[in-house]
Amino acid sequence: MKIRISREALLKPLQLVSGVVEKRQTMAILSNVLLHISQGKMVLTGTDLEVELTASILLEGMDDLDGEITLPARKFLDICKSLPDDAMLDIQIDEGRALIRSGKSRFNLTTLPASEFPATEKIAGAREYTVAQGQFLHLIEQTHFCMANQDVRYYLNGLLLELRDGGLRTVATDGHRLALCDVAADIVPADISQIIIPRKGVVELSRLLDDSDTPCNLQLNSGFLRITLGDVVFTSKLIDGRFPDYERVIPRGGDKIVVADKNILLHGLQRASILSNDKFRGVRLNLLPNLLRATVNNPEQEEAEEEIDVEYNGEELEIGFNVSYILDALNAIKQDQVRLVLIDSNSSCVIHGVDAEDARYVVMPMRL
């Protein structure tokens, strides 16, 4: 089998699918990408058994080619990257070897038979939905940073996607803080209303999606989520677990309402956090009439204090937080003005943009 393809056509799809290939693998086949050629098309596939990505490339004038093989992903990609921009590659597969020729370069790579490559899952009885890419990206960007990482509560190491009447919602939490984002979309939920996308899938997705109105197609059943974006197909296993009842931990009826300029608050807290304890990142907030005072200290007895002008006319309150959690939320909020709603020093605080409750952040305090 002989394939002729330009570096330009090959590089981007190859980069995409190589992204999911883990650097260290126990199964040799998983370090490879699958090349499936038929009907004038080459489909590249990479997988780590949790997330799978495929990308197809048109092969002009090679309609009668038919075959499949796997090549070491990393080496194949590095070769493509290092060739000159306008290079043409001739790939010849013979007796278990792949010979790549381009100009005066030749590379002889080992291959593994395509039959060993984990087959793409068929998604049985899938529900299908269509959303704008930009909306899906927004759902991820507003929440993904609150996902847990290697938590024993494995269902927290992912992003909850909830299908609601007329919209989609994502929720992420690590048990200390929570992010929630809603978008309106043409959704009529069927039997499945909640799925948990694993962390790695979320990271890959955020790389694939762009901020456009281009529609993407969602297919899901209880085990898988597949998203088709033109020539690229993303498939992820879902986390089989029950996401905690997040509605229960979103506080209601907070009467201490602070309105602040997001950037002033963000920068003030960033400066104060320089002297916070590297591990605990504790910050003490004092709410005073139209003033938020942030104080921070560390085991070396160093101290920082920031006075931030805010709108506040409630009772005085002292409360401690992990400053990183607050900064993460402020960084995600797109509005210029933010609202912090508090109850007391032992209850969680809700943060959202003023006049924008589609993205909300709940942060549990620290006892300082």
Binding site: V152, T173, G175, R177, V249, K279, F280, V362, M364, M366
Partner: protein, 407 residues
């Protein structure tokens, strides 16, 4: 007044500590060759008196060999509790001389007396005060080394034993160490020693020839420290803060070849209780616990995680039940061990989905307060009453202060 030393460090080393305590408490043992063993069953000498050392008997020697060297050698089982009490009293008294005391082991301490020179006189005079203080509080002799850094002070203390006092003014340190073999210094072990020997560096005086970069490239900051140490300029401070423990664990030998599930669970329950109590004493929590049972073929068990970091014995014991469920197939086992492998200070961060805390946390706080005041096991979960009369064993790394508060 003499000129003040820029740094003045004193190392106090109790002479043949455990043996000296026994000779102090039992006058009939004074002047006799005695050796201490770990409890009545110990077969190895953990310390011996100077009289025994005269026969060539040393720490680590088997009893049989010691008896071959000296027919009237007498073996005394150790009494850890007593040594701890004496050590604690000595360390406390040293704190009256300066607060900057680093308890280096049960029978050694560094004192930084740099700031006491105007108050207490020249370092040599302070060293005499140290010896006198130790004698007054314990009736025991110690060897003392005085210099401008920890390494030289420690080396100096070894020069005259027992009951010695060796002063090496900092400006003479490099000169005095010049002919000393590097491996004699505390902290230079075989690995680094042979690395240096390959480069022709055998004595402290050779070190200045070696570019410091050679050592730092291979050993990092430790290398830089060793380079300075050999030249009488050890920069390490007397560490009065107690480093946070890297792990907190308890283990126990069970009756030989235990196959009774209830007995195994009782031992695990007891160790869970102890690990939990010690985590709480240090205001720490942990999430990962390695739980093991020693069988003939090796350790059974593995790493178990709590969903949220905790310090409750009951919580830890639930992990133990899981371990027994998964790994124990009825084989005879001899030992249990539970180690919290990632202890960290309680950070005060509240949980969104808290379920466990509350009553348990408050109960533990009350129990800890009662036990702190009236002694270990005054208040204990009823299920632990079955496990009574267990003797504690002293660990070599035990220190009177720090995260090991009990033996």
């Amino acid at each position: 007044m003499d000129k003040l030393w820029e740094r003045a460090i004193i190392l106090v080393d109790m002479n043949a500590f455990f043996a000296s305590v026994e000779q102090l408490d039992r006058p009939e043992l004074r002047g006799r060759p005695i050796g201490i063993t770990n409890g009545a069953e110990g077969t190895c000498i953990i310390t011996c008196s100077y009289e025994a050392r005269a026969f060539g008997i040393r720490t680590g020697m088997r009893l049989r060999e010691a008896r071959e060297r000296c027919a009237h050698f007498q073996v005394i089982p150790s009494r850890p509790g007593r040594y701890v009490a004496v050590s604690s009293a000595i360390m406390q008294a040293l704190h009256n001389i300066t607060p900057e005391v680093e308890v280096f082991s049960i029978d050694e301490a560094f004192l930084d007396v740099t700031g006491c020179q105007r108050l207490l006189g020249p370092p040599e005079q302070i060293a005499r005060l140290v010896k006198q203080t130790v004698y007054e509080v314990s009736g025991l002799y110690c060897s003392v080394g005085v210099s401008g850094d920890k390494t030289t002070a420690k080396w100096a203390a070894k020069q005259q034993k027992p009951d010695g006092l060796t002063v090496v003014p900092p400006w003479q340190a490099a000169e005095r160490l010049r002919e000393v073999a590097l491996t004699e210094l505390c902290g230079i072990a075989k690995g680094i020693g042979s690395f240096l020997a390959e480069r022709g560096i055998h004595r402290c005086g050779d070190m200045a020839r070696l570019p410091v970069g050679e050592l730092s490239r291979r050993f990092g900051n430790l290398g830089r420290r060793i380079w300075l140490m050999a030249q009488g300029m050890d920069p390490s401070p007397v560490e009065t803060r107690i480093a946070a423990p890297k792990s907190i664990g308890h283990g126990k030998v069970m009756p030989p070849a235990t196959t009774d599930r209830e007995v195994i669970l009782d031992f695990l329950d007891h160790m869970s209780f102890k690990v939990g109590a010690r985590l709480r004493r240090h205001q720490m929590v942990a999430r990962e616990f390695s739980i093991g049972l020693r069988a003939d073929t090796g350790w059974l068990g593995g790493q178990y995680m709590l969903s949220v970091p905790g310090n409750d014995g009951g919580q830890i014991f639930r992990l133990c039940r899981l371990m027994v469920e998964r790994h124990w197939r009825g084989e005879p086992v001899h030992q249990v061990q539970i180690t919290a492998s990632d202890p960290r200070p309680v950070d005060g961060q509240l949980e969104l989905f808290a379920a466990e805390e509350g009553a348990t946390g408050k109960g533990n706080a009350v129990m800890d307060a009662v036990n702190e005041r009236f002694g270990e096991y005054t208040l204990t979960p009823a299920r632990l009453l079955r496990r009574g009369g267990m003797h504690n064993v002293i660990a070599p790394a035990w220190r009177p202060t720090g995260h090991r508060k009990t033996v």
